[in-house]
């Protein structure tokens, strides 16, 4: 008696699921297209993370307002924002969650350290992933046909920085610090290669982490080696206090960084000690981007001051939707077939991918803090 009752209920359940599954396939997925967006929404990099999500959201809202039609049906995009806490571990959990939720593509993640482990999950699920800001070379070097990025990678950026340090900044003795993340370490390694090749001498290689605020010990140790330039591969929450502590320790060396430092927040955190700090950012400065000033107006009216990667998150969504339009479908496999043919005039510049999924544009711009704001020094290609 008992077992037959169990059998009946099991059958009912199976039937119910079967029916529900069918219903979903026919109706649901065609009207609402789910796109994932992943960035740290808690923890020290929250401000940049929320910013990336907002960039993607702006694009999604605009596309929805204009109306999107795929395969003869009106569809609506829905952005699912997830928090990876800038933690590789959390990144894979969140990635799986998005895959399970049935997203057709993912914009993200923000950090290289989270983008790389998550990319395997998207690859296995056959879902396109476009990162607005992961710059580590390793991300697209894995051979995944699902991995794309819209920003110049660290090899391009590190090379430009290394040549600039030894050339224009005339640095002979260089100290390097990185935050041991995939991004910081990757950029620092590329920088070191380029700086050595250009004839610079690396006198110290020190390390910190992406939660630290005290650098006095490593800076003191660096001071003993009298470098004339310190390169930091990492983000603004560390870079700001580092610039301050350099000054208070009486270090006269210049501070040079990558795109992790090149934002408004760095200047706020370092205060007057930000003066003279040089940092690079892939791509053109926002106001020299083809659609830059107009984009800034639209974004800042809705979400406040742009931190750093917003235009890339925004362009990533447009590149994705562009591929969907050409495929006339939101099916991941069809979209993936179209993504390599992307040729789009984005806010950040032309969006085109090479066969690895890297962007072919790849300009790098150098900035210096002068009277409390980032000023453009030069753009190198």
């Amino acid at each position: 008696m008992k077992s037959s009752k169990f059998l009946v209920s099991a059958l009912t359940l199976a039937l119910a699921f079967g029916v529900a599954g069918c219903g979903k396939k026919e109706g649901g997925s065609n009207d609402v297209i789910k796109i994932g967006s992943v960035s740290p929404l808690t923890g020290p990099q929250t401000h940049i993370g929320k910013d990336n999500e907002n960039g993607a959201r702006l694009a999604v809202d605009e596309i929805n307002a204009k109306g999107l039609e795929l395969g003869g049906r009106k569809v609506k995009l829905e952005l699912l924002g997830e928090d990876d806490q800038a933690e590789p571990k959390t990144a894979t959990i969140v990635a799986q969650k998005l895959v399970d939720a049935g997203v057709v593509a993912v914009i993200g993640h923000l950090n290289s350290g989270t983008t790389i482990p998550a990319s395997k999950i998207y690859h296995d699920a056959g879902i396109p992933q476009i990162s607005p800001s992961a710059t580590a070379v390793a991300y697209t070097a894995q051979g995944y046909k699902t991995a794309y990025r819209v920003m110049a990678n660290d090899a391009q950026q590190g090379k430009a920085l290394g040549q600039f340090a030894v050339g224009k900044m005339a640095a002979k003795k260089i100290a390097i610090i990185d935050d041991r993340t995939a991004y910081g370490q990757g950029l620092a390694d590329e920088f070191e290669k380029a700086a050595r090749a250009a004839g610079g001498e690396v006198v110290a290689r020190e390390f910190t982490n992406d939660r630290a605020t005290d650098f006095s010990a490593i800076l003191t140790s660096i001071k003993g080696k009298t470098p004339d330039l310190i390169f930091f591969g990492g983000m603004d929450p560390q870079g700001g206090p580092m610039a301050k502590q350099m000054k208070s320790l009486g270090l006269t060396a210049k501070l040079l960084g990558g795109d992790g430092l090149q934002n408004v927040n760095f200047v706020k955190l370092a205060g007057s000690d930000a003066e003279g700090v040089v940092a690079s950012s892939p791509g053109l400065p926002i106001d020299s981007m083809p659609g830059g000033p107009d984009f800034r107006k639209r974004f800042e009216a809705k979400y406040g001051v742009i931190q750093v990667y917003v235009p890339y998150a925004y362009d990533a969504v447009y590149a994705l939707v562009d591929a969907m339009k050409r495929a006339n479908s939101a099916e991941p496999a069809k979209v993936l077939a179209e993504l390599p043919k992307t040729d789009l005039q984005g806010v950040s510049g032309p969006v085109k991918f090479d066969d690895k999924g890297d962007t072919t544009g790849g300009a790098v711009t150098l900035y210096e803090v002068k009277s409390g704001a980032w000023q453009v020094l030069e753009t190198v290609n």
């Binding site: 923890g43 490593i218 301050k244 205060g271």
Partner: protein
């Protein structure tokens, strides 16, 4: 030599801040045998409240000297943190006082997460920067650069520690605290209002944490809703290193941990010929902690627990 002096100075400043926060952990543990994991977050709230007040003061009265502005911030942060700690103890710990010891420990972790998220909602996800209002005067001492701010932090920290020692050893409240720490039941029989003593312990610890919070944010030039976590962890380790429950131990442990970290980060690369880099800073500090605990399980100045039971 000048590098060594500088590293000592770095460590001493960091250590005095650790010591102040460690006091809060150790006082509560001494009396309740509870590890108040929310203490790091109380420090963070102190920094945030102070920064908010400082921001307002700078806006309203820009001609006010920086020291007075910061003092205003500290004076606002202290009562705010006292009130917070009083509330935490009353709501989250007191109902669990008779519960198994794991229960309040988990509650403490819960309170810490709640406070972090509350702070994120109030002050946002951004780093809040400390306005540059303090003088940046620097002195040279044996080749090391020492700023006025660093000297003030160390002097103030030692003054607070001395004050706390006097309070515990020389006042009625202090005697009641020591009595409660030895045995709650007996102290109660002798007419000590144990509830009030426990509240007082939390409140005093929070006041010190508020000052430490302002010091950290002034020293590093920033505050963030996340800052209490690592600081709390380090301070807790410092308290354990010195012997948790022992006030002098927390001070010694804090200073020692700061100096060990600074020297570790500064020299580990050179000593091991680059084999171990400065990212082993924390590993090194915790290695010392483990080594001390292996040989002295109750910490440097800690009493043996068996004697107390």
């Amino acid at each position: 030599m000048d590098i060594f002096t500088q590293q000592l100075v770095n460590g001493l400043v960091l250590g005095s801040i650790y010591a102040l926060v460690a006091l809060g952990y150790t006082m509560v543990y001494g009396i309740l045998e509870l590890i108040n994991f929310a203490h790091g977050e109380v420090t963070m709230i102190g920094a945030m409240v102070a920064l908010t007040v400082i921001g307002v003061l700078v806006g309203v009265a820009p001609e006010l000297p920086g020291i007075l502005v910061v003092l205003g911030g500290i004076l606002a942060a202290i009562p705010a943190c006292m009130l917070l700690a009083f509330g935490i103890e009353k709501i989250a710990y007191r109902p669990l006082r008779k519960a198994p010891r794991l229960a309040p420990l988990i509650t403490a972790i819960g309170v810490s997460i709640i406070l972090q998220n509350l702070a994120m909602l109030i002050w946002g996800r951004q780093y809040v920067s400390f306005p540059e209002i303090l003088p940046t005067t620097k002195y040279e001492f044996l080749g090391a650069h020492i700023s006025l701010l660093q000297i003030s932090i160390v002097v103030l920290a030692f003054a607070i520690m001395a004050g706390l020692w006097l309070l515990v050893e020389r006042t009625r409240l202090g005697r009641a605290m020591r009595a409660t720490a030895q045995s709650k039941e007996v102290a109660e029989l002798m007419g000590v209002n144990v509830d009030r003593v426990i509240s007082a312990t939390f409140i005093i610890g929070a006041a010190i944490a508020a000052i430490a919070g302002v010091m950290v944010s002034a020293y590093y030039g920033l505050a963030h809703y996340y800052m209490g976590f690592m600081l709390g962890l380090k301070a807790f380790s410092a308290a354990v290193l010195g012997g948790i429950g022992n006030i002098a131990g927390a001070m010694l442990g804090g200073l020692l941990l700061g100096v060990i970290e600074a020297l570790g980060a500064g020299y580990i690369g050179d000593i091991t010929g680059g084999f171990l880099g400065s990212h082993y800073q924390d590993v090194f500090a915790f290695f010392v902690l483990i080594a001390v605990l292996v040989f002295r399980p109750s910490g440097l100045l800690g009493e043996r627990v068996a004697n107390r039971a």
